[in-house]
Amino acid sequence: MSERILLAHGSGGELSHELIDRVFAPAFANPALARMDDSAVLPVPPPGSRLAFTTDGYVVRPLFFPGGDIGRLAVCGTVNDLAMMGATPLYLSAAVVLEEGFATADLERIVASMAAAAREAGVEIVTGDTKVVERGSADGCFITTAGVGVIPPGVDLSGAGARPGDAVLISGPVGDHGLAIMSQREGLRFASPLESDVAPLNGLVRALLEATPALHTLRDPTRGGLATTLNEIARQSQVEIIVEEASIPVRPAAQALAEMLGLDPLYVANEGKLIAVVAPEAAEAALAAMRAHPLGREAAIIGRVHGGRPGRVALRTTLGAHRVLDMLAGEQLPRIC
C-alpha cells in the first residue's frame, strides 16, 4: 500500500481492490461482506417484529480527539439512532469519502476503530463504498453510515410518547463530547482531562427495556445538546417539560471549560448519553437499571413532564427561578459530529 491515498484508490480499479482487500475487508470481516457482491444479502427478521433504518453523515474535525475518532463516532452514532427506537442494531453500511493525499496509516486507524466499535456494539458492517476526491475538495475523511435494526414485538418508543406525569432521566454527565472536541480545536488546545463520551448505547437500552415496560421515549442528545433534544420531545409529544438545573450532571472539567468559552453545557453535543422518559411508577426501576450499567453509572432523574404549556421546556435554576430552556439558536460551534 502507498503511504498516501491516491485518486486511483477510488477509481474502481486495481488500487481500489487493494484498498478493500488490505484495509476494509480484514477489519470488518463477516460472511455477508466476504461474498463481495453488489449488495449484502441478509435474513428477514421474524414476523411481528419491525425494521428500524437510519443514516447519518460524519464530518467531525479533528478526526482524532480525546476519547474517540471519526470511525468510532460513525459506528456509534448510527447504532444509537437505532437503539433509541428500541431496536436491536444488526447491520451497518459505511461509505467513506477520502481526500487525495490522506495518510493511509490514518485511514487504517479509523477503520480499526470502526471495527472495534462494531464489535463492542455487536453489529456487522456488511457493505461499503470508498470514493477519493481531489485534494481540497474534502477535509481529510468523511464517513456516512446507515444501519438496520430489529424492533421486537411490544416495543413502541417515539419522541411523541412523553405523557404528563412521566419522569425524565439522563444517563450521565452532559457536554463531554462537544467540549472535548472544542478543547482540541486550532487556537484553543486546552490541556483538559475531558474525553468524548462516544459509545454504543444499545446495551444500556437493552438493560432499560428489560427493567421496565413503561419506557415512553428514548433520545440521544447529540447536536444541540440536552436542551435542544428536550425541546424536540416537548414539541413532538405536545407536553411541557420542567427540568431541575441542580439535578443535571455536568463534570467539573466540562463546567469549567464551558464557562471559559462562554458555552452552556446543556447545549453541547453528547455521543454516549440518552434521555429516557418513563412512566412515574417506573422511574426508580429505570434509574436503577441505568446505574447498574457501565454507561449509566452517573444517571439521574432530572425533571418531569407536565401538561401545562405544550411544546415548552422550562428550567428551574439552582436559585429557584424558572426560565425557558429553548432550542439551540444561532450558536457558533465548530463541527462536532
Binding site: 463546567q255 435554576t317 436559585l319 425557558v324
Partner: protein
C-alpha cells in the same frame, strides 16, 4: 475552591435576596453596562427573584453590538480584498452589515478565520507570509491589551503582513454619554467586572462625582450580581453615592498596571462611532504613530474603497436597546422578523447582545 458552585450557592443567594427585599423600600432602576451581566441575569433567572421595585436595564456593553454599521462595512470590505485573510472573534461573523455579513463574504470566497485570541492572528500571519492577515480588533478594555500585546510582538518580530482594524471602544465615555443624556432615569450602575479588572474600580469615580449615582463593580456569577445589586439598593436607600467594589477577587482599585501600560504604549484615544450613541470623542483606540504600519485602514484606501453611506437595517432598534431606552421585547421586529437564526441587528447575534439574552432565556415574543 472551583469558583463556580460556590458563587451559585442557593442559601447564600437567599440571604442576599433577603437583603435586597429589605432595603428596596422605594423603586430602584439599575443599569448593568455589561452584556455578560445581562446574560447571567437571564440565564440564572435573577430578574424573577428581585422585588418588583428593583429594575435592571441592559446597557451598551456588547462590543459587537456597538460596532457601527459603517465600521462593519469596512471590515467586510477588507475581507473582499484579494490576498487578505481576516482573523476575527466568532461573534462578528454573523452580524449583518449594509450588504451582507462576514459570513456571507466567507461563503463567497473570502478567507475569514475565527480566532480565540489575538495571538492566534499573530500565529496565522507567521504561518501565511504570502497573505495579509487583518485582525478585527473589536472589544473593550478587556480585549485591547491582548491586541496591543500582539502588535508589540509583531513589531519585535518584524512581521510585515499583520494589520489591525482597531474598532476598540472604551467603556467610561459610553457611560458618560448615557448618563449625560438623561434619556433613561437611573439610580445606580453595576460596573463591568472584567473591564474594571483592567481599568480599576477607581476609574468609575466620575459616576458619583458628576452624576450623583452609586456605582458598584460587580462580577458575573449569580452571587456576585446579587451582591452588586444589594450594595446599590442599600446605597440608594441610604442616599449614598459611592464607588464600591463587589468583585474583590478580580478587581484592584488601580486595575492592572501592566495591561494599562501596554494599551497606552500601542494605542492613543481617538473618536469612535458607536451604534446607538453616535460618535463619541476619546472613546476609541487608534494605533500610535510608531505602530501605524500595522493599521489596516490604508488597505481600504489603496483599493479605492470609500466610506460609503452605511445603512442601518430597516426597522432595527438596536441603538435604542443599547442605550437602555427600549426593552428588547418591545422592538417590533423582536422574535418575529429578528431571531438568532435570522438576525436583523447585532444585539440578536452576539452572545453578549441583550436581544439574544431576552430571546434565549425569556422566550419568544
Amino acid at each position: 475552591m472551583r469558583y463556580i458552585d460556590e458563587f451559585r450557592d442557593p442559601a447564600l443567594a437567599e440571604a442576599l435576596l433577603r437583603r435586597i427585599h429589605a432595603h428596596a423600600t422605594r423603586p430602584v432602576r439599575l443599569m448593568e453596562f455589561c452584556g455578560t451581566h445581562t446574560h447571567a441575569i437571564f440565564r440564572h433567572g435573577l430578574r424573577q427573584l428581585l422585588p418588583p421595585q428593583v429594575t435592571t436595564l441592559s446597557g451598551p456593553g456588547c462590543p459587537v453590538c456597538v460596532t457601527s454599521a459603517a465600521d462593519l462595512d469596512r471590515a467586510i470590505a477588507l475581507a473582499r480584498i484579494p490576498g487578505v485573510t481576516i482573523a476575527t472573534f466568532g461573534d462578528m461573523l454573523r452580524v449583518p452589515g449594509s450588504q451582507g455579513s462576514l459570513q456571507d463574504a466567507k461563503a463567497a470566497g473570502a478567507d475569514v478565520r475565527v480566532v480565540y485570541s489575538s495571538l492566534d492572528a499573530l500565529d496565522l500571519a507567521r504561518r501565511r507570509p504570502e497573505r495579509t492577515v487583518v485582525l478585527l480588533g473589536v472589544g473593550f478594555e478587556t480585549t485591547a491589551p491582548t491586541v496591543a500585546a500582539a502588535i508589540v510582538q509583531a513589531a519585535q518580530e518584524g512581521l510585515a503582513n499583520l494589520r489591525l482594524l482597531s474598532l476598540h471602544k472604551l467603556t467610561p465615555p459610553a457611560t458618560h454619554a448615557i448618563l449625560r443624556s438623561g434619556e433613561v432615569a437611573l439610580d445606580g450602575i453595576l460596573a463591568p467586572g472584567h473591564v474594571s479588572t483592567i481599568i480599576g474600580a477607581q476609574a468609575w469615580q466620575f459616576v458619583p462625582r458628576e452624576y450623583g449615582l452609586p456605582c458598584t463593580v460587580t462580577g458575573f456569577e449569580p452571587l456576585d450580581i446579587l451582591a452588586g445589586i444589594a450594595d446599590l439598593v442599600e446605597q440608594h436607600e441610604a442616599g449614598r453615592a459611592e464607588v464600591h467594589n463587589a468583585y474583590g477577587r478580580s478587581v484592584q482599585p488601580q486595575g492592572n498596571p501592566a495591561a494599562l501600560e501596554l494599551m497606552e504604549r500601542v494605542f492613543a484615544p481617538a473618536p469612535a462611532s458607536w451604534r446607538g450613541l453616535g460618535t463619541l470623542p476619546d472613546s476609541g483606540l487608534a494605533l500610535r504613530e510608531e505602530y501605524r504600519a500595522f493599521d489596516a485602514a490604508p488597505l481600504l484606501a489603496a483599493q479605492g474603497i470609500e466610506a460609503a453611506e452605511a445603512r442601518e437595517p430597516a426597522g432595527c432598534r438596536c441603538g435604542d436597546v443599547l442605550r437602555g431606552a427600549l426593552e428588547p421585547n418591545r422592538c417590533p421586529l423582536f422574535g418575529r422578523v429578528c431571531t438568532p437564526e435570522r438576525p436583523v441587528g447585532p444585539c440578536m447575534v452576539s452572545s453578549e447582545g441583550s436581544c439574544a439574552a431576552h430571546y434565549r432565556y425569556g422566550g419568544k415574543a
